[in-house]
């Protein structure tokens, strides 16, 4: 494994010291009982910085504020309500078993561990399943308008190929409604004075004093002012880093800066290469494309996916006779058909396009055809189910999916990797907590649909508020202020970096670098990864990074609203992350979940896991030289690892 010289070294194993042992269903209770409490009167003296106002950060700020802590909240958008969680469409899982279809915490736990292809922690996942029901209670009480049945009870649907109906949803805007619930709860605390909200502020570095995370350096995006904020603890809820691929379903501003800067300050980064590629996105239409749009996975319930049998078939879809169509998912996976998990569907689509059978102007697309469903169910039913999605598709492509099949292609969607955290959600830097998509979380090597919203809210409403107290019980810590040398040094580093970006005055735009980086990552660290490709990618990323620092052009100055400068800083961090992702993908010589190493597949082309050698979490330590790998071995006491099979 370590035979690529110099790319990484292996350090001591890392252990999660906080997870209690004992029966899995009692661990969370045990931990909560063991965690120290803080008297309400003392909480006011304990300040907490929260970066991010998405489902994770928003729910945490609302809850900690309500509990009486002194919370300072930050986001880069102009309002906390715009965090990227707003874009989630499909739904949120919860083991409520309202359908009496055999669901339970245990089943949700089981599905999630299996779905993650046995690369997540049993303790964490069980806890997630356990608190999932309370999340729905909380959100309904806040006024989240979940879909209901005529009797007035909450409606559920089955999502992402699971056999029970446990997904709660609010039309195709579940993330929006959940986030608005959290946002409103935060604004209530803002009015009450327990939460200070700082919008248009971007975290550029973490301040670590005497081994503890004690604050952040942020830039006021309106004025360019570099500010320091100090506290007893810092929580990162800054979301995922899918934008390292340039094109993704993430919002334009999603970035790795907050977590990457923390990583550079000593926080371990876990499983960076685990990226989820979503099969149903609208294909790229050309060079200018800035972002990809997801079409809800639910479309696969009724749409049939196909391409022409012969490569280079340029006929219009309607002109291709039934016999010359290849419904490749139904053909290869007869029992699951079009509903195979995301990674399987994505790879299959890529494979047929690689054979030259892709459709649309770029050849990078497959049909998602509703003709049969329209015939079988009628237009009204289809309209009822997917009306707004069809509209969205038509708005973007100017094609009417009631008449011509949709075209879809996989796109980067979610990052399972993130900062390493223990059972308390604390990173390897004491006092630095990481929640939501920003941590390496509960999804292992592949996330099931409708479970990211669940995790973000579980972390923010229920888990972090219970565990952070145990850390803060030792506080307040020794006072620090802006004159502390560690603070000054961090601020200085931030300024130097900004000055450097502004002084290069090169010849290439930030976006051109970002696009090129994205292409490298998509080609070599995307749906299929090979050893040679990854080695090449590392070299290419390094070279591009060097060129970036030589010839990027950042106009304007720091002391103003400067969106080019904002992007430049983010892209600079993406370069460093990209390298680590490739290294992580390179070292993991197995296929698991979304990580598919061509060298490790079964005879029929399915992912082959190697539990013996890779049944661990890869937690990377930053060093100025090669990153150091710390392994956290995973134990499976309840769900016995089996090879996934969908045929």
């Amino acid at each position: 494994m370590t035979d690529v010289p110099g790319l990484w070294t292996v350090g001591d194993p890392v252990v999660d010291s906080k997870a209690p042992t004992g029966p899995v269903e009692q661990r969370w209770d045990a931990r909560r009982f063991g965690a120290r409490l803080i008297a309400p009167a003392n909480r006011r003296k304990l300040s907490v910085i929260i970066i991010g106002t998405g489902l994770a950060g928003g729910s945490a700020a609302a809850t900690l504020g309500e509990a009486g802590y002194d919370v300072k909240s930050f986001c880069y958008q102009d309002s906390p309500r715009r965090a990227h969680s707003i874009a989630a469409q499909g739904g949120i899982n919860a083991a409520k078993d309202y359908r009496n279809d055999g669901d339970s915490s245990y089943r949700l736990f089981y599905d999630t561990v299996k779905g993650g292809d046995f690369r997540s922690r049993e303790s964490n996942v069980y806890r997630l399943a356990q608190v999932s029901g309370t999340i729905i209670d909380q959100c309904v009480a806040q006024g989240v308008p979940f879909a209901r049945e005529y009797g007035g009870l909450l409606d559920n649907r089955s999502f992402g190929g699971v056999q029970v109906s446990r997904t709660f949803y609010a039309r195709g805007q579940t993330g929006q409604q959940l986030l608005l619930g959290a946002y409103q709860a935060v604004e209530r605390q803002v009015a009450a004075g327990t939460v200070e909200m700082n919008v248009r502020h971007e975290m550029l570095d973490l301040i670590v004093v005497d081994g503890r995370a004690r604050g952040v350096v942020v830039r006021d995006l309106r004025t360019g002012e570099i500010e320091t904020h100090l506290a007893e603890a810092v929580v990162l809820a800054s979301g995922g880093y899918g934008n390292v691929f340039y094109l993704s379903t993430n919002a334009m501003g999603c970035n790795v800066t907050a977590t990457w800067r923390a990583h550079r300050q000593g926080a371990l980064f876990a499983n960076p290469c685990f990226t989820q590629i979503h099969p149903t996105c609208i294909p790229v239409s050309g060079e200018h494309q800035s972002k990809l749009t997801l079409m809800s996975e639910s479309l696969r319930n009724d749409g049939r996916i196909w391409v022409p049998v012969t490569a280079g078939d340029a006929r219009r879809p309607g002109d291709v006779p039934e016999a010359e169509r290849d419904y490749f998912l139904e053909r290869s996976y007869p029992s699951f058909g079009n509903l195979v998990p995301r990674d399987v569907a994505s790879r299959a689509a890529k494979a047929v396009c690689d054979e030259g059978r892709g459709v649309g102007p770029t050849g990078l697309g497959v049909y998602l055809d509703f003709a049969d469903a329209l015939e079988r169910l009628g237009r009204t039913t289809i309209e009822d189910r997917y009306g707004n999605l069809f509209e969205m598709y038509e708005r973007i492509t100017a094609e009417n999916p009631y008449e011509v099949p949709m075209r879809i292609y996989p796109a980067v969607h979610y990052t399972m990797g993130g900062l390493w955290v223990d059972y308390d959600l604390q990173s390897s830097i004491p006092g630095l907590f990481v929640i939501g998509e920003a941590n390496f979380s509960d999804h292992g090597a592949n996330r099931l649909g409708a479970s990211a919203l669940m995790q973000g809210l579980a972390d923010g409403y229920f888990v972090l508020p219970a565990t952070i107290g145990d850390y803060l019980a030792d506080g307040p810590f020794a006072p620090v202020d802006a004159t502390h040398p560690a603070v000054g040094a961090t601020v200085e580093a931030v300024r130097t970096r900004i000055d450097r970006l502004l002084s290069i005055e090169g010849t290439r735009t930030v976006d051109s670098f970002h696009k090129q980086l994205g292409q490298i990552m998509w080609d070599h660290c995307g749906m299929e990864r090979t050893r040679a490709g990854l080695e090449q990618a590392v070299a290419m990323v390094r070279e591009l990074k060097a060129e970036f620092w030589r010839s990027v052009k950042v106009t304007g100055e720091n002391e103003e609203l400067n969106q080019t400068l904002e992007r430049a800083g983010r892209v600079a961090d993406f370069f460093e992350l990209a390298e680590l992702m490739c290294i992580d993908a390179l070292h993991r010589e197995e296929s698991c979940g979304a990580h598919f190493r061509v060298e490790s597949q079964t005879e029929d082309g399915e992912a082959r896991r190697d539990d013996e050698h890779f049944g661990y979490v890869a937690a990377w330590e930053f060093t100025p030289g090669a990153p150091v790998l710390h392994k956290e071995e995973l134990a499976f006491d309840y769900v016995k690892p089996v090879q996934r099979s969908y045929t």
């Binding site: 809850t63 309500e66 102009d78 309002s79 906390p80 309500r81 715009r82 990227h84 707003i86 874009a87 029901g133 309370t134 209670d137 909380q138 959100c139 309904v140 009480a141 806040q142 006024g143 308008p145 879909a147 209901r148 049945e149 005529y150 009797g151 009870l153 909450l154 039309r171 805007q173 929006q176 409604q177 608005l180 409103q184 709860a185 604004e187 803002v190 919008v199 309106r222 919002a251 334009m252 239409s285 050309g286 200018h288 494309q289 800035s290 972002k291 749009t293 969205m392 708005r395 973007i396 100017a398 409403y461 229920f462 508020p465 735009t509 976006d511 052009k553 106009t555 103003e560 609203l561």
Partner: protein
């Protein structure tokens, strides 16, 4: 295709702004309007000019961050569409397109097309919530809510907080935005206990921020990307009046 963008340029909140025309060539009908701005910004950057600042994030019509006035219409010519979901196929080759920021006193310009909409957050903070501490909620199915009522509440809850309603209203009123939240929470059983105080507090904040009153002109709902219906304003009025007449209980 080629287009000309006449864009409002304003360096900072205190400096005066003006319209500046830019030719943008080699754009395509499949491009989104913001992608055309991206193209222009790349040109400007390479020429050493200051690129145009504009807000955007999700680029799929849900975050509410984007929004400019295009040819005098908030979010441009297509109904029920955000700026980021607008494509160049809505414009003719050779078109001259005017691009301006939202204009309203409570939305001061920060730079170019970027405005400060924090007044909306303060309106929500005044009362746009249900007071429910984390963990205090009863079982989600303990309270039944008729489907029709949920659907109506959802129609109002779909507001993305973009501010187009204010930008389009001849009175600079934020009644559609505020009314949408009042309606969302006012239609649900969970929102009833605070219904009166919410209406009064949000009304007061709306006025304090300097938004104008509503004279039922209806431009707001016509440009609203989420088609928030006009009757949310009427519901808002009713809640305020009934709180005034009947005091705290509704």
């Amino acid at each position: 295709m080629n287009i000309t963008l006449r864009v409002w340029r304003q360096r900072s909140p205190d400096e005066a702004g003006r319209m500046v025309a830019y030719e943008v060539s080699d754009v395509f009908p499949e491009m989104s309007f913001l992608e055309a701005l991206d193209v222009l910004n790349e040109q400007l950057t390479l020429a050493g000019d200051d690129p145009i600042a504009f807000d955007h994030d999700c680029r799929e019509g849900i975050c509410g961050m984007c929004g400019v006035v295009i040819d005098g219409i908030a979010h441009g010519p297509e109904a029920a569409t955000t700026t980021c979901q607008l494509y160049l196929r809505s414009f003719a080759d050779g078109a001259v397109i005017d691009v301006e920021p939202w204009r309203a006193k409570p939305f001061p310009v920060i730079k170019d097309l970027v405005v400060d909409r924090s007044a909306f957050d303060r309106i929500i903070a005044a009362g746009g919530f249900v007071s429910v501490p984390t963990g205090a909620a009863p079982d989600a199915n303990a309270v039944l809510v008729p489907k029709q009522q949920t659907d109506l509440a959802f129609d109002a809850a779909a507001c993305i907080g973009c501010g187009a309603c204010v930008a389009a209203c001849p009175n600079g009123s934020a009644m559609l935005f505020t009314g949408a939240k009042i309606t969302h929470l006012g239609l649900l059983p969970q929102g009833q206990p605070e219904r009166s105080s919410r209406a009064l507090a949000m009304m007061a904040q709306h006025d304090d921020e300097g938004f104008g009153g509503c004279t039922q002109i209806g431009e707001c709902t016509a440009v609203c990307p989420q088609s928030i219906p006009l009757h949310v304003i009427s519901r808002f009025n009713r809640d305020v009046l009934s709180a005034l007449l009947h005091g705290e209980r509704s």
